[in-house]
Symmetry: C2
Subunit: 423 residues, 2 copies
């Protein structure tokens, strides 16, 4: 029996024009995958009636269609009308819903000191749903709902990501969606994360091991300079998935750093916590990005003391104790400066582990000897001091991101003392 297929329709003129990046599509796709459904397509479309209706018609061919956005009170919020049109049903005023939305609007009108009459038209519009729709709760004054069309179960949710995520669980508990979920089939999901090896090299190993297929679906994807391998196995194909991943481990084991979805900054903090070490950062070209990543992890304060963003040379000298002689002789972008920064921040902040990054992020400031993209990193611990460097001629943001990730991986390697892995 085929796994039910899901189409996601994300509405918003600012999204289809590239003014904003969509977050709802990935959230919903990931959620339905974990429910054992098959996310087949994400469609991003504006609020022009013709575009929206045709996108919905295409999406209603799936077993489950999830629509986000366009539920507001104004005329250019057309999702409900177009859902009804594409489903071939009438629009009907839901009086219970009208009372509910009216109550919200009344208190809103009072707060603003405006007459309720100003809102009555919008309330009626928002309480009018396709015939047969099941409301699943309000986001402000906008109702989410579920509708059964000829072929698809349709879930309509508000656009703001927080509101969408809040109403989502309620949608799953409606008869049309429960019918779809009864046909769901969970797949076993395994993850392998590698660093320091190329995507094509991992893909080749996979290909030489027979590739995916036969109930196993493997994606190899370069993401933030790491390689993420995800294997989805149909029931019964788990051992074949495990064999494939075993081959990858055998060929690239020294580059495998995780078999779960924890990011490298979380692994570094966990290693420090286990070893009872406290961490500090000294950043030049990354400007705070390493600290920002470390502190994105809840509980970072147990391990991470803080750091110095040493952007100007004066800050490297005065706050980190990097000597003027060293800077004159080797330059601020050098292995020597990186090592002195790591040592300096460790001493100044009273940390056990110091991480340092210095490089030329561009677009200006490059020279023949030290071109844009040249980066030095260094990690110093109580019993190790290790540096690294790379040259990555790219745009400013990519160089900086790569530098931040590189020093975190160097710290992970030094702290995990994985001698199989190259420095």
């Amino acid at each position: 029996m085929a796994r039910p297929r899901v189409a996601i329709v994300v509405t918003g003129s600012e999204l289809v024009r590239g003014d904003r990046h969509d977050r709802n599509g990935p959230f919903l796709a990931h959620a339905v995958l974990l429910l054992g459904l098959d996310p087949a397509r994400i469609i991003i479309v504006g609020d022009a009636p013709r575009d929206l209706e045709s996108a919905l018609r295409d999406a209603f061919r799936a077993d489950l269609c999830i629509v986000s956005g366009g539920l507001g009170p104004t005329h250019d919020d057309r999702t409900v009308e177009m859902v009804a049109r594409a489903a071939g049903t009438k629009l009907v005023l839901d009086e219970g819903l009208e009372a509910q939305i009216g109550a919200v609007s009344r208190s809103f009108a009072e707060r603003l000191g405006r007459p309720y009459a100003d809102f009555a038209h919008g309330v009626r519009k928002q309480a009018t749903l396709p015939a047969g729709a099941v409301p699943i709760g309000l986001a402000g004054t906008a109702p989410g709902f579920v509708l059964k069309t000829e072929h698809a179960a349709v879930i309509v949710l508000p656009g703001p990501p927080g509101e969408l995520q809040r109403l989502w669980p309620g949608a799953l508990d409606t008869p049309p969606v429960r019918n779809v979920l009864e046909r769901a089939r969970h797949r076993d999901r395994r993850t392998l994360r590698l660093y320091g090896v190329s995507e094509s090299s991992v893909a080749r190993t996979l290909h030489e091991a027979g590739g995916d297929g036969d109930g196993v679906d493997v994606t190899v994807c370069a993401r933030d300079f790491e390689i993420h391998v995800d294997a989805l196995a149909e029931p019964g194909a788990e051992s074949r998935a495990e064999t494939l991943l075993g081959t990858l481990r055998a060929a690239h084991g020294r580059h495998v750093f995780a078999e779960d979805e924890r990011p490298v900054e979380e692994l570094v903090l966990a290693l420090c916590r286990t070893l009872g070490l406290r961490l500090a950062t000294a950043e030049s070209c990354t400007g705070g990005m390493v600290g920002e990543r470390l502190t994105s992890v809840p509980g970072a304060s147990e391990v991470y003391l803080g750091g110095v963003v040493a952007y100007a040379d004066s800050v490297k000298e005065e706050q980190l104790g990097v000597s003027a002689d060293l800077l004159r002789e080797h330059g601020a972008v050098s292995a020597e400066a990186a090592a002195a920064m790591a040592r300096g921040v460790r001493e100044r902040l009273g940390a056990d582990v110091g991480l340092a990054v210095t490089g030329v992020a561009g677009p200006d400031g490059g020279t023949a000897e030290k071109p844009v993209g040249l980066v030095f990193i260094h990690v110093e611990t109580p019993d190790a001091s290790r540096g690294g460097d790379f040259s990555y001629p790219a745009d400013r943001e990519s160089i900086r991101r790569r530098a931040a990730i590189a020093v975190l991986h160097l710290a992970r390697r030094v702290l995990s003392r994985n001698r199989h892995e190259p420095a």
Copy 2:
């Protein structure tokens, strides 16, 4: 004459599963909008043949279809085959292209010390294009190309964003795409950016002024705690767009901070540059995010000296001179601590302007008196010292982002001495 419509098809199983956020769709949508075309739909789809073919068939109804990804040498890179199938054309080996891709693969094979025969099959696959396709250059061994189908001009580009963006201009200079561009009509685009006012309040003003329509298309969108208003005007409707924006300026002028797309960190750096002031940051809960944003701007080093990430109280005391008494009396999350941090980083780093942030980012660490989401910010300049605070009960990342943006906007206001705007 209707503006030519564009459909964008982004392929990638990791994208349709929500494992990765797409960057190509927004890039391409924004690019075609600026060319005077109408981005009608972005479709994200996996590499299953059935899904890919049906998405392409839907997209070929547009005037221009842009496809990204799935051009690799392996069997699950199916874009070329499915484009040919959806277009109803045959696949043909392009011998010139085979020689070109072969040369790249040969040098690759040599570097890896592998026989070229291992690559020959992949080379032939990648040199095989739909009949009539015009190659527009290689990304590694993957050729981008342009194809004219019965209705649409189709541009096929590689998936990696850097490669896609590199081949994009060449695609515009092919006969099928030039034909589409001849029918393009530019729209005047105006931008208004506001801070400190709600999206619904801006939308209401717009509605009361008659709303968009009549050749003007206005989007109001909350993004990173700012409100971005974009007005697109058809030829002849420019003055109506200007009138609408004038109404917004009259109603919300003290909240308008830009009429272009420069982010707030760039405005802060520009103000400092103009005033001859040098900048430093002291960050607790944001962990480096403010420094990271400032240094994302090329040339930041002319103005930004660096900062201290004072995550632990010991770092606030020792690196910023915040007194232990103050921390004991008021706590590290307090207006007093924020002010002392701003003063401290200004003095220690020899800067003219100090920015400081301290708050409870959660999810743990909140108390009844100082709940998760409470943030204090402070800006000190040679002739002003101004603080602010807010309470924003949300997730850790949102609190941190909002804190970073709030302190940058406070700095902008203090430096621009806009007395009309509330602190």
